[in-house]
């Protein structure tokens, strides 16, 4: 660990007094037994409910009859015992241990539909009940994650909470996923949240090792979702301030499973899934072709038309096997799991497989100290085919081909040329594109509770990932006759080192205080290296011996450090006020900006606990909480590790090396982008806790956005990255949960989420910058991020298309007024004149995102479905555009049939508005039916059989395969571009899970 240099002890010695609190003495402990049952309000036993002596290392869970027995060794005194169970309000009972012996406590728990009594840690600095929080926090439990049928963590988050939009950017089995909490909060950086798994800040880089944008994985795909016990999500700066400069996109904290004492539990699950193309798109089926290229000549010849989709797409299969063993004895608990996932894509020749293993050991050292150590190892491999977006790809070849060419290999072994990209059979049969990822994540957590109310947690996390991609295009490939090979490796190591302490005490009978403080040191190291060779020798699949070689290498290191102090004061356990300050710095900030301060304040008021409320509205609103939070957090993903420096470039002329100054000079004043967020909301339950409603409004102001600004050339340079942009987000989130039926045999829970957001960018020099989608997506002042600004139809005053004299649509022309607004102009014939005009023609940001989830259980049967809706967003459909022009689309068929004027498609090809489509969709994301068989054989506790479907159908008007994908993959600003992307498959899965 060379990056920690010894010395500067004095800086940390300040922590000593805090830690010296640890050296208080204790009085002698006595042995006691606490026992009883935990049941629901209707008397049903709760299995696996947690029983915990507050502030002590003593706890257990209930067995299958809801019984518990807890042996503790504690000094005489009065203690609190807490009973908690997912979906129920936790209860505390006072326990008088002035003498030894056995105590029996039976307890009935009330339902907690909003989980207000759930204990969370994210953004709080310590264990805190949700009711005390001034900000919204969303949580997910294991059952919701495992039940989703998703193969990665982010897929499982889809639709499960308000204010989250999860986009699978391609249906390729190795594709990446974008997660946005509330909205984008940057232009040039990433809007993906900060992910923490078991205290390790994990790498979720998008690793482009194939130079194929649509199959760029995020590294969170390495993590097996079946190991997850719980997920907590906070969505913006107001909640995330104590995470400092990395938190403005929100924080997703993941906790994996732990063992529990008692008999070892073995769980095994296996599944098989069948993937298929959900929808084939229209293509040209008219068996004719124009005899002449002259568009006024309408004579035709007969041809055969082919459906290339049949060749490239195929039904496929996958399997997923998972085994976990957990248990423990005395002071030691363990959990171990192994999994093997294998999934084929619906694009022929693509697959993804992942082998992973996890071990966690929890050890209680004594009554005030324990530690937990865990490690996770995963290896994943994919076979890929180029597809999507820029450059050649299977589906691009289809888009660019007039589908009257038989692509089959001829007798001499030659593939017919289809277009300026390779033949579709060549990709499938001769190309070799692969990705291999190795990942390990380890953590060690030491927890001390040296005195009543004080807990200290020391945590070290290590995350190492290596991704390697190889590509091979054989010599002799059509349109790529020289052959190409490429190998690229991205390695990343992340280390975090955190010390957190929380001290809870009652200042008076009515006022409680929780103080939390923490310090973190983080270090990242990244490297990228690529070798590309072309002009390959026959049979050589590597770059070795290639006629032309180019290389690229980049290495970087970065450190981040910070500390926070947070204080929560509770009044009568009804009103809670929290204030916090975080200071942090990073090696990527300029010297004058090394210390960034992020404050937050928040408050929550459980007004329903007041007597006046319960006497009046209490019969309707069983609980009612008002919350408000204000805070700041930063984003440093737009800062490169060396952007603050003026980095000279190496050159070589005539064998002598030299250095030249860069056109983009360093900025010694760089600082993180800063979000100031205010959120207010209410959480309420109605009708005896049958209905729960959470409403939140937020307003985010993001300042200091990092954009490249132009410099006077007389500075000697052209650009500098500066903190000049701004952005705002205003939005509303709602989540409604209802339990209309709760009987012993029949239970029905239904949850709806809704979120809407308005985004606006400002401060861009020169009004706008192009950010992808071939430059059509813009960050433009006064507009939402990523709007499409391009050419549009010339129209008549009544809105109909102004056609050319030949009857074809055409692009609007004219001039711009002094405000930059386009003003159409007409010539003497009433036809457009002037220069071709552009305007904002589409917005890829949805009007709203919503979901509806239903869970029904009847005895041993359960039935579940989830609809996801993303409504009111535009797609820049390059698929549609190419099918206008290259003859393989239905447009050409209509022209051949005489339904439209020949040349209409070619004209539309040149008018961007013609290929803007409404992408709104409602998808049946999940549907599942399962049957639980209890004690089928001796030695088996239960077996569950599940038949589920994912993405079975979509209600949308999109002309191409799938509106949900994105050409620029995980790009932050460039959304809504679709070109030759593999659609997300329809999946049917049969799974068996057995617990022993």
């Amino acid at each position: 660990m060379h990056y920690f240099s010894p010395g500067q002890i004095k800086r940390w010695i300040l922590l000593f007094p805090v830690l010296c609190i640890a050296v208080f003495a204790f009085s002698q402990a006595q042995n006691h037994t606490i026992q009883g049952t935990v049941t629901s309000a209707d008397g049903e036993p709760l299995i696996g409910a947690t029983v915990l002596v507050v502030g002590q290392q003593a706890g257990t869970v209930t067995n299958s009859e809801g019984r518990y027995t807890l042996d503790v060794a504690l000094p005489p005194g009065t203690y609190q015992v807490r009973y908690s169970y997912v979906g129920f309000a936790s209860e505390n009972r006072e326990l008088d241990l002035s003498s030894g012996g056995t105590r029996t406590i039976d307890i009935r728990l009330r339902p907690d539909i909003l989980r207000l009594n759930e204990v969370v840690v994210t953004g709080t600095g310590g264990l805190t009940e949700k009711r005390k929080l001034g900000n919204s926090i969303a949580t997910m439990q294991n059952a919701e994650i495992a039940g989703s049928g998703a193969v990665d963590v982010t897929g499982a988050l889809t639709g499960k909470m308000a204010g989250i939009q999860v986009t699978q950017n391609s249906g390729d089995p190795a594709a990446g996923v974008s997660v946005r909490l509330r909205s984008a909060s940057t232009v040039n950086g990433s809007s993906d949240p900060l992910y923490i798994i078991d205290g390790v800040i994990v790498n979720n880089q998008s690793t482009d090792v194939l130079n194929v944008r649509s199959v760029v994985q995020n590294r969170l795909s390495d993590v097996n979702p079946q190991d997850i016990e719980r997920i907590e999500v906070i969505k913006g700066g107001a909640a995330a301030a104590i995470y400092g400069s990395r938190a403005s996109n929100g924080v997703v904290q993941i906790f994996t499973k732990k063992g529990s004492t008692g008999k070892a539990r073995v769980s095994f699950s296996t599944s098989i899934n069948f993937n298929s193309l959900r929808k084939a798109r229209d293509f040209n089926q008219v068996p004719q072709h124009w005899a002449s290229t002259d568009i006024t000549d309408l004579s035709k010849i007969s041809v055969t038309r082919y459906d290339y989709q049949d060749i490239v797409f195929d039904n496929s299969m996958g399997t997923d096997n998972y085994l976990s063993v957990s248990g423990g004895r005395d002071n030691t608990r363990f959990f171990a799991s192994a999994s093997l996932l294998d999934n084929q894509g619906i694009l022929r020749g693509t697959d993804f497989n992942r082998v992973s293993g996890r071990i966690r050991i929890d050890q209680i050292l004594n009554d005030w100290a324990s530690f937990s150590v865990g490690t996770y190892v995963a290896r994943s491999h994919s076979n890929d085919k180029p597809n999507g977006g820029y450059g050649f790809g299977v589906l691009q070849t289809i888009l660019f081909t007039n589908n009257m060419i038989d692509p089959s290999i001829d007798e001499d072994g030659n593939y017919p040329v289809m277009t300026f990209y390779p033949n579709i059979y060549e990709y499938i049969e001769t190309f070799d594109f692969q990705q291999l990822n190795n990942r390990s994540i380890s953590d060690l957590q030491l927890t001390l509770s040296p005195v009543q109310g004080l807990s200290i947690n020391y945590n070290i996390g290590y995350d190492n990932s290596t991704s390697n991609g190889t590509t091979y295009v054989p010599i002799g490939t059509t349109t790529r006759t020289l052959g190409e090979a490429r190998t690229s490796t991205i390695s990343s190591t992340k280390l975090n080192n955190d010390l957190n302490a929380a001290y809870e005490t009652d200042l008076t009978d009515k006022i409680s205080s929780t103080t939390a403080a923490g310090y973190t040191l983080q270090y990242d190291k990244n490297s990228v290296s690529t070798i590309f060779g072309s002009t390959l020798a026959l049979g050589v699949q590597t770059t070795d011996g290639a006629g032309t070689i180019s290389t690229n290498e980049f290495r970087s290191e970065r450190s981040i450090w910070g500390g926070y102090l947070q204080e929560t004061i509770g009044f009568n356990n009804k009103l809670f006020l929290t204030g916090a300050l975080r200071i942090d710095g990073s090696s990527v900030f300029g010297a004058g900006e090394r210390n960034q301060l992020y404050p937050k304040v928040s408050g929550s008021y459980v007004i329903s606990d007041e007597e006046f409320w319960s006497n009046s509205l209490g019969s309707v609103f069983s609980s009612f909480k008002i919350r408000a939070a204000w805070g700041q957090a930063g984003n440093l993903t737009a800062i490169g590790p060396f952007d603050l420096l003026t980095n000279y470039s190496g050159v070589s002329l005539l064998g002598v090396s030299g250095l030249i100054s860069p056109s983009t000079i360093g900025n010694p004043d760089l600082k993180p982008e800063r979000q100031t967020e205010i959120e207010i909301g209410v959480d309420m339950t109605l009708l005896n806790d049958r209905i729960g409603i959470e409403l939140t409004y937020y307003d985010q102001d993001i300042e200091d956005l990092l954009l490249e600004r132009s410099l006077a050339p007389s500075t000697g340079a052209s650009f500098r990255i500066e903190n000049i942009g701004t952005m705002t987000n205003k939005g509303f989130e709602a989540m409604i949960t209802a339990s209309p039926i709760q009987t012993r045999d029949l239970k029905w829970n239904i949850t709806g989420t809704f979120s809407t957001n308005e985004n606006e960018v400002n401060g861009v020099e020169g009004e706008e910058i192009g950010i992808g989608n071939f430059g059509f997506s813009k960050a433009r002042n006064g507009e939402p991020l990523g709007v499409f600004r391009q050419g549009y139809y010339a129209r008549n005053p009544d809105g109909s298309l102004l056609l050319t004299p030949d009857g074809r649509p055409q692009r609007e022309k004219g001039s711009y007024d002094s405000d930059g607004n386009p003003i159409p102009e007409r010539d003497a014939d009433g036809q457009p004149s002037g220069t071709s005009l552009v305007k904002v023609i589409g917005d890829p940001n949805p009007d709203y995102v919503a979901s509806l989830i239903s869970d029904l259980t009847y005895k041993n049967w359960s039935f579940r479905f989830q609809f996801d809706a993303v409504q009111g967003f535009d797609i820049l459909s390059w698929d549609k555009r190419m099918f206008f022009r290259f003859g393989g689309g239905a447009q050409e068929g209509r022209e051949l049939n005489g339904e439209e004027v020949r040349g209409t498609g070619a004209a539309k090809f040149g008018i961007a508005e013609a290929y803007i489509e409404d992408g709104s969709f409602i998808k049946l994301r999940e549907v599942a039916i399962s049957y639980l068989l209890s004690n089928p054989l001796s030695g088996i506790n239960d077996i569950r059989f599940t038949l589920s479907g994912r993405n079975l159908f979509s209600i949308d008007d999109f002309s191409s395969w799938d509106p949900e994908v994105n050409m620029d993959a995980q790009s932050n600003g460039s959304r809504g571009g679709v070109m030759g992307l593999v659609p997300i498959p329809r999946t049917i899965k049969f799974a068996v899970t057995a617990n022993f």
Binding site: F4, W12, A25, L653, S710, S714
Partner: protein, 447 residues
């Protein structure tokens, strides 16, 4: 009890010691060195020197030749790119936003900035006086070249770059004085020769720094009207035997003009007869025509003038053809012009005829014509013949706009776009990118 106390103390101590280290707060960039590394050692300054030449000869030189080359019809435009068409059309249509004039401005100022960094740091690395003087002369030479090329295109230019974006502009005479001062200091610094190490590791075998300095001194003295000094500086080169000094290229750093005019590039072609019309059309048998120009290559874009164009030969024929830093013929023409403008017509004609009758040019650029048959007593006629010879001899050296303006100051350049005049601008407007970011940017010239 004591035992527990000690355990807790030990736990606290372990945690504190884990944090009793600090992480590095600054990381060096292993991919790209920064100024502090470059400016503090001989090796760093040598590397910067190599970089200045690499950037100037491959990037800036293209703009130096291309922009005035299009404005004065040396080059015909064969592609629809806006930047080159803006230049071909000229007049008031050539605006500050155009890439055609922004590119030379940006690249020359960036090269000048590197030269200024070199000059500013020659005393910071503790070098021997010989090495220090070599570096200083080299920095001065490149800075003077950048300033000189800029002042040939723009009315005013910033003598010194300013990182704060408020560089002040100086007029032509001040800039020329600065060029002369820089080059004079360079000449004096290396009057005893450059250091052998500098020659071997930076200049290489193809560049003679002292001759190059004197050749440009001759040019700038002439432009400034210092005729005696111009002649003396030219003689300083001519008297040394005059081995050529060249910008050299390799497969990764190709001849930047070849890159634009070769048969597979569709951007620019040399105009037939060097774009000269009427009396300036080369005489039959002028060897320089076949030296520079090959077979007919069709015509330029109609919108850009539609002139006849030829294949490119000469110093731009191949990917790695070296480009001369200065021409032997320029020195003779400088002398001829200096004599003519100072009234010494016989000497002027003598030097002019050396150019016309040249058969032993060190680079093979031989007109091989008979002695001039014009009126040797008429200064105006002599100067016209000197202009014509400059236009031919110094084809694509980035100087024709300067020559056209100096010899034909009264030529009326129209405001309207024009694709065939001898020149379609006197000076270029200042690039918008400079104006928007530097409050000291002067008003644009009227034409």
């Amino acid at each position: 009890m004591k035992h527990l106390f000690h355990t807790k103390l030990a736990a606290a101590f372990i945690i504190v010691s884990l944090f009793a280290t600090s992480c590095d707060t600054d990381f060096a960039n292993p991919n790209n060195p920064t100024e502090d590394i470059i400016f503090s050692s001989k090796d760093g300054l040598f590397a910067l020197s190599v970089g200045i030449n690499q950037y100037f000869s491959t990037t800036a030189l293209r703009q130096v030749i291309e922009a005035p080359g299009i404005t004065t019809r040396e080059l015909g435009v064969t592609n629809t790119f806006l930047n080159i068409n803006d230049l071909a059309r000229g007049g008031a249509e050539l605006e500050g936003i155009s890439g055609g004039i922004t590119n030379p401005w940006v690249t020359l100022l960036r090269a000048k900035g590197m030269a200024e960094s070199l000059i500013a740091n020659v005393d910071n690395a503790g070098l021997s006086s010989s090495t220090r003087n070599s570096l200083l002369a080299y920095g001065n030479f490149y800075k003077a070249m950048c300033l000189g090329h800029l002042i040939q295109m723009f009315e005013q230019v910033p003598i010194n770059n300013s990182p704060d974006g408020n560089a002040t502009f100086s007029d032509r005479s001040t800039v020329l004085s600065e060029c002369i001062a820089l080059l004079s200091a360079a000449r004096d610094a290396i009057s005893g020769g450059v250091s052998a190490e500098f020659q071997a590791n930076v200049l290489g075998p193809d560049r003679n720094l002292l001759n190059s300095v004197n050749a440009f001194l001759s040019r700038y003295h002439l432009m400034a009207g210092n005729y005696t000094e111009s002649i003396n500086s030219a003689n300083a080169v001519l008297n040394t035997g005059d081995a050529p000094s060249m910008f050299s290229y390799d497969a990764n750093n190709v001849n930047p003009v070849w890159n634009r005019v070769n048969p597979s590039a569709s951007d620019l072609r040399p105009q037939t007869n060097f774009g000269l019309l009427g009396a300036y059309v080369p005489e039959a048998g002028d060897g320089r025509v076949d030296f520079y120009l090959g077979a007919d290559a069709g015509v330029a874009l109609a919108d850009a003038g539609g002139q006849a164009i030829s294949e490119m030969l000469g110093f731009f024929e191949t990917q790695t053809s070296p480009i001369p830093i200065y021409l032997h013929g320029e020195l003779l023409l400088n002398k001829a012009e200096a004599y003519a403008r100072s009234g010494d017509l016989p000497n002027a004609v003598t030097e002019l005829n050396k150019v016309r009758m040249k058969t032993d040019d060190p680079l093979g650029l031989n007109a091989n014509l008979p002695a001039w048959g014009g009126n040797a007593g008429n200064a105006g006629e002599i100067l016209e013949e000197i202009y014509k010879n400059r236009a031919i001899e110094m084809f694509l050296t980035g100087t024709r706009l300067e020559h056209s303006r100096r010899f034909h100051p009264d030529f009326d350049v129209p405001q309207a776009a024009n694709t065939t005049n001898e020149r379609n601008r006197n000076y270029y407007p200042y690039p918008t990118i400079e104006r928007e970011n530097n409050p000291n940017t002067p008003p644009d010239p009227t034409i």
